[in-house]
């Protein structure tokens, strides 16, 4: 027996030694999983196959100073702490995020100096068991003023049992209190929403293990109770889905609600309120898991914790054959005429054109009539695209939602500052078109076709307006350019030189003739050639600029083609022309030719060509100075023909 006792003691001691040796404490920099949040951590762990296994306490803290847009410094304190058991969260875990801006008021207490802060704090306390949610969870968002919590912004409390949401849930914000319960993750029992307002706004939803049984909304003493048989009753003939309490559930409830209402006017406020309360609950439930983008309980450790927000049980109502196609055709027709109307609205010539052409004014008024229905159509389209449609009996819903499409027999429009009225045949609306979705689709297709036809007719008219307006602008531009040419070649500016003077009369005369020719054209011809005339005038202005720069270019060539040589007899530096056989023909024959030809036969092509050549020859001459030009010099020897000179100077194959 003594041996057994001693043996047991030795074994116990050995195990504790082994265990004590395997667990380590880490203290130092640490980055939370998948996040870029880096701070200081202090935790216990052991290594298993070189992997760190958290085991024991875990504390993480990061303090960072942020500079706000207003220049203030914000202190951001981020903490998360709890306990692991072999990598799995266990017991109480706390997340604390404070964003505080220190005030300038200094507090001194004994030997401590502090700055009371204002800001916000976000606190979540959770419990885990074996890595899974368990027990009571709470979160709290507070506003901090003068170094102390001032008021609660949001508060939430719920509980997990057997890893599922169970028991009561309490959610509170500054203006809403929600009380409800979950049973095995399912919304269950009464869920009450009480708003802190003066007219007693409240909502009651009664669930039975995930199925919405009753729905009552009270808005300022106006109370309506809704029942949704397709949600409340379990239909075993249908598929049954258990949906997360998310946007889809919100949409199902909202659509169910809409199917009970007229779809118009004041009734929509009940829908809006219901949507708002659903979104509020979903938002509050999210606060147990997320702080903005931070996935709080998956920031550290394994296994991954899956957030849960409760569930609702619904029936599926599969689409009948061809039903989807009808919806898609309807959506396509709405998209089409909406785009057409938008393009027309964006066309700047519509507003101008309707004052100039009565037909444009009429078409614009017609389109305005069609446009009046676009908001209602958008609503229909949004609804038809909603995934929640699968969970609603659609025939009844859509019958409620199809709106009355009516068009007048006359249209009123303004033209030449007078109000006019004219009869117009809009698309015929049969009563059958408004009774079912198929008829509505056919009506919408007709409207779309009509709008497209009107648009095509308008496009043609608006193009005419565009050209007329453009023509006016072009002609203004042309006149400005003509005046500019006359002013330039009249020597109004300091850079007017002999080259300008040489061709001034020809250029001015040519410009004037061109302008007169243009003026005598009819409108259609003007539209076709106005660009050419403006381009021609632009070339003339450029010619002036080229001639302004020609003395500089020639002076530069003179410099480039001059070499300074030491004359030993006179003992002076003496300038010498180099590559004279290239320089002389270009400067003395080619350039004068380019100017003189302008005087002989001035036209747009010559003006442009010679303006280009002035620069091109210059550029080539600069290049030629630095290359072997023996071949070129041989060809240009005693050459007097400017064409030959030009051809050879621009010929790159004559350079070695």
């Amino acid at each position: 027996m003594r041996i057994i006792i001693w043996g047991f003691c030795v074994l116990l001691f050995s195990a504790s030694v082994v265990h004590a040796q395997s667990r380590e404490t880490y203290q130092g920099p640490f980055t939370l999983n998948k996040d870029t949040i880096t701070g200081e951590a202090n935790y216990r762990y052991f290594l298993e196959n070189k992997d760190t296994i958290f085991d024991g306490s875990f504390e993480f803290q990061r303090v960072r100073l942020n500079t706000l847009k207003n220049g203030n410094t914000e202190v951001n304190s981020f903490e998360i702490f709890g306990k692991f058991e072999e990598n799995k969260k266990s017991g109480t875990w706390v997340y604390f995020n404070k964003r505080l801006v220190p005030s300038t008021n200094v507090r001194v207490s004994e030997y401590d100096v502090s700055y009371p802060a204002r800001g916000r704090s976000f606190f979540i306390q959770s419990r885990f068991k074996n890595g899974a949610p368990s027990g009571d969870w709470t979160f709290l968002k507070k506003r901090i003023e003068a170094g102390a919590p001032s008021d609660t912004l949001r508060f939430g409390r719920l509980a997990f049992l057997n890893e599922k949401l169970n028991k009561a849930v309490f959610l509170k914000s500054a203006d809403t209190i929600v009380e409800g319960r979950f049973t095995n993750n399912l919304l269950d029992g009464d869920w009450t929403f009480n708003a802190h307002d003066s007219c007693g706004t409240r909502e009651l939803k009664t669930f039975d293990k995930g199925r919405l049984q009753r729905h009552r909304v009270t808005l300022c003493e106006e109370e309506i109770t809704f029942t949704y048989p397709w949600l409340a009753e379990l239909d075993t003939a249908l598929l049954i889905d258990t949906l997360e309490y998310s946007q889809l559930v919100t949409d199902i409830i909202a659509l169910s609600l809409k199917s009970q209402l007229s779809g118009k006017g004041d009734d929509m406020k009940f829908v809006d309120y219901s949507i708002a309360t659903n979104l509020f609950v979903q938002s509050e439930l999210k606060d147990f898991w997320y702080d903005g983008k931070i996935d709080v309980w998956n920031a550290v450790g394994q296994p991954k914790v899956k957030p849960t927000y409760g569930q609702m049980v619904v029936n599926q109502f599969p689409f009948e054959e061809g039903e989807r196609a009808v919806y898609e055709e309807l959506i396509a027709a709405i998209d089409s005429f909406e785009l057409t109307l938008k393009l027309l609205k964006d066309n700047p010539y519509l507003e101008i054109g309707k004052y100039a052409y009565s037909r444009i004014a009429i078409l614009s008024a017609v389109l305005s009539e069609y446009k009046k229905h676009t908001d209602a159509y958008k609503y229909i389209r949004q609804l038809l695209k909603n995934d929640a449609l699968l969970y609603i009996p659609r025939k009844e819903l859509l019958r409620h939602l199809i709106f009355d499409v009516t068009f007048p027999d006359f249209i009123a429009y303004e033209f030449k500052e007078t109000q006019r009225t004219e009869s117009y045949d809009f698309v015929q609306v049969q009563s059958s078109s408004l009774n079912n979705i198929e008829g509505f689709r056919a009506l919408t297709a007709s409207i779309n076709k009509e709008i497209n036809n009107l648009s095509m007719e308008l496009d043609v008219l608006l193009e005419v307006v565009r050209k007329e307006l453009a023509l006016t602008e072009f002609e203004e531009d042309m006149v400005i350019k003509k005046d500019s040419i006359n002013k330039l070649f009249a020597g109004a500016f300091e850079d007017f030189n002999d080259y300008h003077r040489d061709v001034a009369e020809e250029v001015k005369g040519f410009t004037e003739r061109q302008f007169k020719t243009y003026i005598n054209l009819d409108v259609e011809q003007k539209r076709e050639v106005v660009d050419d005339y403006i381009a021609c005038f632009r070339h003339a202005i450029r010619l002036y600029e080229e001639l302004s720069d020609l003395p500089r270019k020639l002076s530069r060539l003179d410099d480039v083609y001059t070499r300074t040589v030491w004359n030993a007899f006179l003992m002076v530096d003496m300038d010498e022309r180099v590559k004279e056989r290239v320089y002389e023909p270009v400067v003395n024959i080619l350039y004068p030719y380019l100017i003189n030809e302008l005087k002989k036969d001035i036209n747009c092509e010559i003006i442009k060509l010679h303006s280009d050549l002035i620069t091109e020859v210059y550029s080539n001459m600069l290049d030629l100075r630095d290359v072997d030009t023996r071949d070129l010099e041989r060809l240009l020897r005693r050459e007097r023909n400017p064409y030959v000179i030009l051809e050879n100077v621009l010929n790159p194959s004559l350079r070695r």
Partner: protein, 276 residues
Amino acid sequence: MGKKYILLRLSILLLMFVDTSPVSAQERPTSSQFEDASTLIWLGTYGIVRLGDKLFWDAQTHYRRGSYNGVPWVGRMTQIYNRHGLTYQFTKDFRATIGGVLRLNFTPDPSGLTETDYKYITLEPRIWHEYLFKQQFGRVQVFHRLRMEHRWNRGNEINSEYIYRDRWRYKIFANIPLNKPRFEPGTWFFTPDVEIIMQSGGPVIDAPLEDLRIQPIIGYVASPQMKYTMSMMYTLGQRRFDGAVYRQRWIFRFNVYFNIDFRSSDSKMPIMQMLD
């Protein structure tokens, strides 16, 4: 210091020759005799070949003819003259040259009209060095040239012996551009040119003034490499055997001056920039 020092030395030297020139009291003539002026033509080429940034090869040739047997200016061949030297351009205003001359002196009587027998050609070698200074006064250039020559020559007479003499030459001339403000291709210029040539040595007894040359020159700068000059030069100098006798000449001169630079284009930088 350089220019002034050299000029001072030269002046003293010239004075020394003037003062110490031997004069025979017994044979002293009562007046100078001036020979009738002869007429000659000198055609010359003056080449300067650039060898380096500051180093040049100076190459001069003359073709000289003179009056003979009633034919003025060109009656006979007188001399062919080769002068070569290496020039170093110290600054843009000063350069020095050293080199050699080989002159071919032709017989004074190519037709054998006199009884004296002459060698058809005799050689006259010289060693020479010169120092050229430039002064600039506005558009006018003034040059001072000091040239020293050490020469060996002989008469064309059959039995004539070689004698050795030193020549001391000072030349002042100016270049005045006429049609342009500065020298550039196309410039006509006028050059007043005066040179005094003194001589010394054992054979020089009473004729230290070998030549005084005065020439107004008209020139034309054709290009930085080429200029031409033309002048009518008057010279006056003592005959070596009789200092009382003065020789007079009118010489028509036409010269071509050329610069050649055989270096690569990249090296053809103006010397002024090199010196600056």
